[in-house]
Structure formats: C-alpha cells, structure tokens
C-alpha cells in the first residue's frame, strides 16, 4: 500500500528552475499571441523575446551559488550561473539580428522565436544540472529546437544542413545514452556527485578500468560532437554553411558553452578521480582539432566555411584548457567564450548584412572571398570593422580574443604544459593566415564587380549589435579584469 508522496514547495526550491521556466513560458506566450492575432510583425516577437531573455538574465543574476533544487536534480553552482549568464547574453545579442532590412522567411514565424526560447531553456538545463537524465533532456530540447531553426532558413542547403546535423545528433544521443548507461551500471546512480563518490571507492577494483574508460569514451564522443571536436566535427562546416549567418555564429558559441559545462562536470570528474587517461585523450583530441581545423580553414574559398573551421579550431583551443582541469583552465574556458562571443557574433553578423537572396559571386557559396574584395573602397567602415574582428580572431592584441588566448596559454603554462602553449602559439600563427586572407581581400584587392550593395541587409538594429560587438572587441582590455575576477571567483567557489 503506497502512501501518497508529500513534497514541500520549499524543499523544491523552485527559484532554481525559474530562469528556464521563464524562457519556456515566454515561448508559450508568443505562441498564444500568434493564436489570437495572425501575422504580427517580427519586430514585436523580437522585442518580446529580448524582454523575456532579459528577465531570464535577471533571474540568473539573482541566483546564489551552490544550491540544489527540484529533487536535487538542479545544481546551481558558480559554473552554472556563469554559463547561464553567457548563454542568455549570447541569445540576447543574437535575436535582434532578425531585424534585417530584407524579409527572411524564418523570422516571419512566431514559432521561430518560441523554439528559440525553448532552446535557450534547454541549454540552461544542460548547464544547471549534474543529473545525466536532466542533461540529456536539456540537450535534446535544445538540439531538436536547433535543428528546426536551421531548417526554417528554408533553403535546400539549410535542409541538408538540418538533416546532417540531426542524423549525427541522433547518433551522438545514442552514444550519450549508452555512456550514461555504463556509468549507471558502474555506480547505480546518474547523479554525478554520487557517481564520483562510488567510482572513487571502486576505482581500484580489477577489470573495472575498461568500463570506466568505455563510459568516458562514449560520453566523450557524444559531447565531442556537440563541441565539434575532431573526428566528430564533420557536421560543423556544412551546418554552418547551411544555416543562416547569425544562427551559425550563435551555434559556434552558445551551444558550445552549454556543452562545455557538461564536459566540465563529467570529464572534470574523471580527471579529478585520477583517470589520467581521459586527460591524455582529451589533450590529443584538442591538439588534433585545433591543428586540423586550422589547416582545413587555410584552403577554404568561402568566408563562412572558413569561420566554421576556425571556430572548430577555437573549440580545440578551449578543450585543451578543459583538459588541464585547473581553476585557471576552467576560468579560461568561460573567459575565452565570453570574449570570443562578441567577436564571432560580430563577424557572422557582418556576413549576415552582406547576405543576398541569390548568389551573385559563386554558385556554391554565399560569402566567397571575392565578395569582399576591395570592400575598403565600397564600404570603408564595414571593412575596418570586419578587419578588426578578423585580427581579434587571429589573436592580435589588444583585441578581445587575444586576452582569451593568452589566458588559456598562461593556464597551460601554469599547469606545466609548456609544449601545449607552444602548439597553441604556432596554431594561432597558422590561423593568422586565413584571417589575414580576408583582410587582404578587403584592403589590398580591387573589387571584382560593381558590388554597390554588399551591405544589402543592413539596418539600424544590426548596426547597433555590430557596433556593440566592435566596442566589446576593441575595448576588451578594459573589462577583462572584472571578467577574470568574477569568473575566477565563481568557478573556484564551485570547486572546479
């Protein structure tokens, strides 16, 4: 005879759920509005979304660290707060890019915004839990939404991209599920903190290593897919190319932050437990990723594809920091992405404003290098700004990404991985080539044809976003200090 389950609301500590709930509710509201009144203008939805996200942001700010809630599946520690802030901030930066001067199919549907909000909620769940189930749920919510958003761009390319992403995503999910199954089998729990305890006790049981390694490998494959690490990166270039420019930029930052939090929790745990093997594997993958990403980016003819590969190699960069498993290392992950976010979104936004309905330069690509040839003569400001973003990505001081880079390298050096720092350095040198290639095209070449309307798609809101990104990129040196100290505090507070 089962007695009814009684749960007091206090013990649920719903405040920890509030941010995601806001996002989800917001999504639903948007849908409802659409039910009541047809074809409202996208600007309304954009603004609503921003409002909701701002509230979300505020709520996350309001959270205080190291709490658990909702049957202890929610984990609000420094990492989750920092990452949620970044996620929401990134989303806030992204969504106004919908307000282009030209109509774009997807932004006409309120579903787009609803899905977007659900996706944000999903990412937040990923970031705010150490329960393998909830992580999976969040991951799937986000991914499924994301697939749809990509597909909504309504070009044969975007369908192809969606399908590729979706299929591989499904496989990754399977890996993840299997991985967590093994973990569960090993420890009888899916709560990472309990997993950690049990594993630490069983670590030296004979014959268990295979299982431990196996679990780590399966989970690694799944997350490596999300983080687009070699050899699970193959989707990234195609998907970025297929997706609309802003969405590609978004994908190169926000989902990765969420995925990094998860990997931080999982592999951090493994390394903490002293499974050096995982660290080694991750380091190898990191080096391979950054190097291959770079040398493949070298030979691209399309700027967007090049940026896709470059963000692969950036991910490799950061994964290396993750493998260090020092507080500096973990801080650098978030610092890097915080700084990378502005520049990268800015760069993709620049592609976005030069988006044409039909391909005027190349039948395969939207943004071949030729398109930007001689931009300095056509659109000086645009050229300068794009050049700033490129230099920043190349790691030229004092632009934002440089600070991320040296912080990562410093972390590597401090952890005693000088060789890693040197590899990173050389990689940035290689990377400089393809970023420079664009600068060269924009500044040193003559326009290929009368490209009067490269900035076809420009509009006030986009200007604001790009301007903001520019300022953030150039003025990084002035806000790096607060970022570092805040991140460092939060992360060391949550024990990573």
């Amino acid at each position: 005879m089962l007695e009814p389950i009684k749960v007091s609301l206090e013990s649920l500590n719903l405040i920890t759920l509030a941010p995601m709930l806001i996002a989800i509710v917001g999504g639903l509201i948007i849908l409802c509005i659409d039910l009541f009144k047809e074809n409202l203008d996208k600007s309304l939805y954009v603004m609503l979304t921003i409002l909701i996200l701002v509230v979300d942001f505020g709520l996350v700010m309001g959270l205080n660290a190291n709490e658990r809630g909702f049957f202890d599946v929610m984990l609000i520690d420094g990492v989750s707060i920092v990452s949620q802030l970044l996620i929401v901030a990134g989303s806030i930066l992204f969504i106004p890019l919908g307000l282009t001067s030209k109509r774009f199919h997807e932004y006409e549907y309120p579903e787009f915004f609803a899905l977007f909000l659900f996706m944000v909620a999903g990412f937040q769940f990923m970031a705010a839990s150490d329960n393998l189930i909830l992580i999976l749920v969040g991951l799937e919510t986000a991914s499924l939404a994301l697939y749809t958003l990509i597909a909504m761009h309504n070009r044969s390319d975007s369908y192809e991209a969606a399908v590729k992403y979706f299929t591989m995503g499904a496989l990754a999910t399977a890996f993840y599920a299997m991985g967590s199954a093994v973990v569960y089998g090993l420890t009888g729990s899916v709560e990472l903190y309990q997993v950690a305890q049990t594993l630490s006790s069983r670590l030296n049981e004979p014959g268990l290593m295979i299982a431990i390694f196996g679990s780590s490998v399966l989970l690694l494959s799944a997350l490596a897919f999300k983080l687009s690490l070699f050899p699970f990166h193959t989707w990234a270039p195609d998907v970025y190319q297929g997706a609309s420019a802003p969405l590609a930029g978004y994908m190169s930052v926000v989902p990765k932050i969420a995925a990094f939090v998860v990997s931080l929790r999982i592999f951090g745990m493994y390394i903490e437990l002293g499974v050096e093997w995982v660290r080694v594997i991750i380091l190898i993958i990191a080096v391979l990723t950054m190097t291959l990403g770079n040398i493949m980016a070298l030979v691209q003819e399309d700027v967007k594809r090049m940026l896709a590969y470059s963000s692969i190699s950036h991910a490799g960069f950061v994964v290396a920091a993750l493998a260090l498993d020092t507080t500096e290392g973990n801080t650098s992950i978030f610092l890097y992405y915080a700084l990378f976010m502005f520049t990268n979104l800015g760069a993709f936004a620049m592609l976005w404003i030069s988006r044409h309905k039909q391909r005027r330069f190349d039948d395969r690509f939207d943004n071949p290098y030729e398109k930007f040839a001689g931009l300095i003569n056509i659109m000086p400001m645009g050229a300068v700004i794009m050049a700033l973003f490129m230099l920043s990505l190349a790691g030229v001081p004092p632009f934002s990404v440089f600070w991320g880079k040296i912080y990562v390298m410093q972390a590597a050096v401090n952890a005693g991985y000088v060789w890693l720092a040197i590899v990173m350095g050389l990689n940035s040198a290689i990377a400089a080539y393809y970023y420079l290639k664009l600068v060269v095209y924009m500044f040193l070449k003559e326009p290929v044809k009368s490209v009067d309307v490269v900035y076809y798609n420009l509009s006030k809101p986009l200007m604001v976003i790009i301007g903001f990104a520019t300022v953030a990129t150039v003025g990084a040196i002035f806000y790096v200090q607060p970022l570092i100290s805040y991140f460092y505090y939060m992360i060391s507070a949550s024990g990573y």
Binding site: V217, L218, P231, D238, M296, V299
Partner: protein, 631 residues
C-alpha cells in the same frame, strides 16, 4: 700658439667649404685664388709653428673637445705639434699651396674647377688631421679622410667610360678610385685591429699614454700590434702586395698625383711608422721585416719603371720605390733619415709630377713618352724643372735627393744588412736610368709628337713661378740635413753611423754616385738622340713581364675580383633564394597542401560523416580497451 694650430688646421677646411659652396656652379677663378690664399695662410701658420717649436723645442698640445666617450673608452679631438708633426705640416702645406696655385692654371679648362678645389682642400685638411692628431683614433680619422678625398680626386673625371686593360691599364678613373678605396680599406682593417689591441692593453689611444705603457706589454702583444699597424701603413703607402692601386691612381688629375700620390698621402704610412717609433723600435723583427719589404719594393717598383711608357706611371713607380727607401730607413731604425727623405722626396717628386703635368697640358693629355721628344725647345722651364727634379731623384749632389738617399743607403750598410745595401745601391742606379730615360724621351731627340698633330706650348707664367719654391727646395733642401737632424732628434731616437761606416762614408757615397751617373749615362746613350725601338727586347719575356707589372693586376683580378663576384652571385641565386627562402616557403606550402589533403574528409556525404564519427568512437573504445588491458 693654440690659435696658430687651429688656423693651420682649419684654414684648409674653410677653403674646402668655400669652394664647395660653388661646387655645382660653373668655373670661377676666384674660387681657386681664395682657396690658394687660405692654403697659404695655413702654410704660414705651420711654418710659424715650426719656427716656434724649433726655438722652444717644446711641443704644443691642444685638446679641442671630447669626441667619443663610451664605457672606459675616451677619445678627444686632440692635436699635438711637435718636431715630427710640424715637419709633416710644413711639407704638406708647402706642397699643397704650390699645387693649389698650379691647379688654377692646370684645371682652367675643366668645368668642375670649383669642385676640384673643394676636394683638394678637403684632402689637405684630412692630411693635417692625420699628422697633427695626438691619438690613434684621430690619426684614423685623417687616415680615412685622405682615403675618401683620394677616392674623390682619382675619380674626379668620373664621366670617363670603362676601357679594357689593354687600352688603359687602369680601367677608368672611377674604377681606379674604387680600387684605391677598397685596397686601402683592407689595410685599414689591419690598422683598426692594431688600435684595438693597444686599447685593450693600454686602456687609452693617446700616443703619450700608449708609448708610456709599452714597456709593460708582452712581446707578443707588441709584435701583433706593430704588425697590425704596419699593415695599415702598407695600404696607404702602397707597399707590396697592396701596391697596384697607386699606379692606377694616376687616372686622377696630375696635381692630385703630385700632392696625394707623391708628396703627402702615400707617405702617411711612413709617417705612422715614424710616429709609432717607440713601438716599432721595441719590435726588431717587425722593423726588420719593414726594412726588407721596403728594400724589395724599392727594387721591384724601379724595375717596373724601367720599361714603362706612360709619363705619369713612371713617376708613380718611382714614388713607390722611394717609399720603399723610406721604409727601409724607418725599418732600420733611422727614423729621422726616413723623415728627412720623406720631406726631400716630397719636394722633388711634386716638382716632377707638376712638370709632367705641364707636359700633359702641352701634349693635350698625351702621356705616352714614345710619342713625345724634343719638347725642350717649346717648354724650356718645364725642361729645367723636370731635369732638376730628376737629378735630385737620381741622387746627384748637391741636390736634396743625394743627401737623403745616400744617408739611407749608408744606414743599410751601417746595419750590416749587406743584401739590402746592395739592392738599394742597384736601385739607385735603376732610378737614375728610368728618370733620365723619361727626361730624354720627353725633351730630347726627334719631335715625334708632330706625327700626331699636336702643337705643344709652355705652361702659364704664374704656374712656372709657383713651381719655383719646389725647385729651390728640391735643390737646396739637402744642406739642412744637419739642422734637421738636430731638430727632429729631440723627439725621434738618435741615429749615428758607426765609426767604421763613418770612415767608409766617402767610398760608399762614391759607389752610389757611380751607379747613379752610370744610370744616367746609359739612359743618355740609349735615348738622348731619338727613340730607337728594339723589337727583340720589347718582345722579350722580361720586358713583357715588367711592362705588365709582373701580371699582378691580372692575377688579382683572376683570383680575387672575379671569384668574389661569382661566389656572391652563387650565394644569392642558389643559397639565399633556393635554400633559405625556399625552406620558409616550403613549410608554408606544406601546411597549405596538408590542408588540401585533410579537407578531403569533408566529402559532404552524410554516411561518410557518420562513419568518421563511429570510427572515431570505436577507435577511442579500442584505445580504451588496450590501455585498460595494459594497465
């Protein structure tokens, strides 16, 4: 007195700058006059200083300002006027004043008249710095300064095109200039090294301190230092094997040859040895080497002069050989005699050159003495001057050359170095022969120039007048030997002939004289009445060997110039471009290629992507298995 020093030193500089102002404007006679006047001022100042030093016997030290001071190195612009430097100053200013005046006449048709005076005075200034400086660095300033001026002046007619060695042994003025500069640079390196050695062992470059510190230095340091410095001297004084540039330097205008390549600059090497006599007298081996080399050069140069047909080159060779004499004397420790011969030689050699200049002027720059002859009718004064100078050069008493040269030869005997003595004596004979061969071929015999439609005419009066001081000095300088000896030996080490030599003095003198007269007689017999060319000898090996300067210029070209150019080209085309640069680009290309290779994994086909993913997972799993198995 200080002011006199400054006047003597800077008057030429002022003159140079003044002339420089008009450097690019067309010929103005007053430029020449003004600079000659300034040179005259400098000369008078120098002579006054000479008198003062002669009176008091006390050297004058002037430190103008600090030049370089770094670490423990301290180099001032300091000048000393003592017996040696004042002698040099006298010689330099006298000759250069004459040459300046002479040039007004000689260069009157040249459109770069003003520029010429600017260079000439600049040279005099550098020469004054060279002789007056009281430290090695200052000496080096002058040393390089005269080098540059000689570069400018040899290459004065830079517009002349290059010719083959056959037409013109010194390819072109500009070529000769560069050769002179570069050869001198080689020697300067030696000199620098000498300076470095002294600095690091003494801690200063002031003559006084250096010479004071010499006794504490080890044998080896002294020897290397002396040797290094002498290498420097060899360059400037064109000693074998660095002698080729001097004859080529004859490409410059004749006054230049007279001033720079006869009277002053080329004697700088001798001056250095005399200056640094404390060092050289402490290093007998080096000194003897100097003496031997000097003697050899004296003979070697004279031999080349025997067959040469070029008026100026003959004189150049004789200069070379006389420098040899000076080094012989200096090397044997008779520094004051060397200095004496330096002075005397300056006078008569300058006179000789300027006379040759007159001839050139008359013959429209024709230099081949085979095309001259019988000029004494048209050019009486020039004939007298050159005859006088040649007599002096040949060492016929009572002319200057006799005393100075005789003293040197005597020294060689006195030192018991008989071989040197014999060679010097023979050389004396050869000297006499070639100088008079030249005189006779130029002024006596049939007037071969008519064949070339040349109408020679005597030089301007004022020029001839200007030459007179040199003539007088060349004639009478010898009588001051005694006084000069007393004067300079206050500073330079005393050198006296031994009793034994003293007794033989007359005999020795007689021997030398016989050779000299013999040489003249031979020359007279062969050339006095017309040129009788003798094919057999001229095609003889020896004749050819001498005529081609022992093929040394060709040799240098073959083993130095050409290989250097070739290697340089190789370095550039093969090493720099093909190896060093290619490696860099190679790395870049490799990266790019590997990019092209790896992008192939992006087939775009979904199932390949899935395979990659699965393979990745499986491989990781396998690695996991293995590593777990292995521990």
């Amino acid at each position: 007195m200080e002011n006199l020093v400054y006047i003597a030193l800077f008057a030429p500089l002022v003159s140079s700058l003044f002339a420089g102002l008009f450097g690019m404007s067309p010929r103005q006679t007053f430029v020449g006059i003004v600079s000659s006047a300034l040179l005259f001022v400098s000369m008078s100042a120098s002579l006054m200083l000479a008198y003062h030093v002669y009176q008091t016997g006390a050297p004058i030290y002037v430190t103008m300002k600090e030049w370089i001071s770094m670490g423990d190195l301290f180099i001032p612009f300091g000048f000393v006027v003592d017996q040696v430097s004042v002698t040099m100053m006298g010689v330099v200013t006298v000759v250069s004043t004459v040459v300046h005046v002479y040039s007004i006449g000689y260069m009157d048709h040249d459109k770069s008249f003003n520029r010429f005076f600017s260079y000439l005075s600049a040279f005099v200034f550098s020469m004054m710095v060279l002789v007056m400086s009281d430290n090695f660095a200052g000496l080096f300033i002058g040393w390089e300064g005269v080098g540059v001026c000689s570069w400018l002046l040899i290459g004065f007619w830079y517009h002349k095109p290059d010719q083959s060695r056959e037409e013109n042994p010194s390819i072109s003025p500009s070529w000769a200039a560069n050769e002179a500069f570069i050869v001198n640079r080689i020697a300067d390196l030696g000199m620098l090294v000498g300076i470095f050695i002294l600095y690091w062992n003494v801690g200063s470059l002031q003559y006084s301190e250096v010479f004071a510190a010499l006794p504490q230095l080890s044998e080896i340091i002294l020897t290397t230092a002396a040797l290094a410095l002498f290498i420097g001297a060899m360059g400037k004084s064109a000693q074998f094997p660095l002698h080729t540039w001097l004859t080529d330097a004859m490409e410059g205008p004749t006054p230049v040859s007279a001033l720079i390549h006869a009277a002053t600059m080329v004697t700088a090497g001798v001056f250095l040895v005399i200056r640094a006599n404390p060092l050289f007298s402490m290093t007998p081996e080096v000194s003897f080497f100097i003496a031997a080399l000097g003697t050899f050069v004296a003979f070697f140069a004279a031999s080349m002069a025997l067959v040469n047909r070029d008026l100026k080159r003959i004189i150049a060779f004789s200069t070379l050989s006389q420098l040899g004499y000076m080094f012989a004397a200096a090397g044997l420790g008779a520094y004051w005699i060397a200095l004496f011969h330096l002075g005397a030689h300056a006078f008569f050699k300058a006179l000789l050159f300027l006379g040759a200049g007159n001839v050139m002027h008359a013959m429209h720059d024709e230099l081949d003495i085979f095309k001259m002859g019988g000029l004494k009718k048209q050019m009486k004064w020039t004939y007298i001057y050159m005859g006088l100078a040649s007599l002096a050069l040949a060492g016929i008493p009572p002319l200057a050359g006799f005393f100075s040269k005789d003293a040197i030869i005597e020294t060689a005997f006195n030192e018991g170095t008989l071989i040197l003595w014999i060679m010097l004596v023979v050389t004396a004979g050869m000297t006499a022969f070639y100088s008079f061969r030249q005189v006779f071929l130029t002024f006596h015999g049939d007037e071969r120039y008519k064949a070339f439609g040349i109408h020679p005419h005597e030089m301007y009066k004022f020029v001839l007048v200007a030459l007179s001081p040199l003539a007088i000095l060349a004639a009478i300088a010898g009588f001051f030997q005694g006084g000069f000896h007393d004067f300079v030996t206050r500073l330079l080490p005393e050198y006296q002939m031994s009793e034994h030599t003293h007794h033989l003095a007359l005999v020795l003198g007689a021997i030398v004289l016989t050779f000299a007269v013999g040489g003249i007689a031979l020359a007279y017999k062969k050339y006095a009445n017309g040129l009788k060319r003798d094919e057999k000898t001229e095609n003889g090996f020896l004749y050819k060997l001498l005529a081609n300067q022992y093929y040394i210029p060709h040799l240098y070209e073959e083993i130095i110039s050409k290989p250097y150019a070739m290697i340089s080209d190789l370095m550039w085309k093969s090493v720099d471009l093909k190896i060093v640069d290619a490696t860099v680009d190679g790395i870049a290309k490799f990266l790019y290629k590997s990019g092209d290779g790896t992008r192939k994994m992006q087939t775009g086909n979904l199932s390949n992507y899935l395979n990659w993913m699965a393979i990745g997972g499986i491989v990781l799993l396998v690695i996991a298995m293995l590593s777990a198995m292995l521990g």
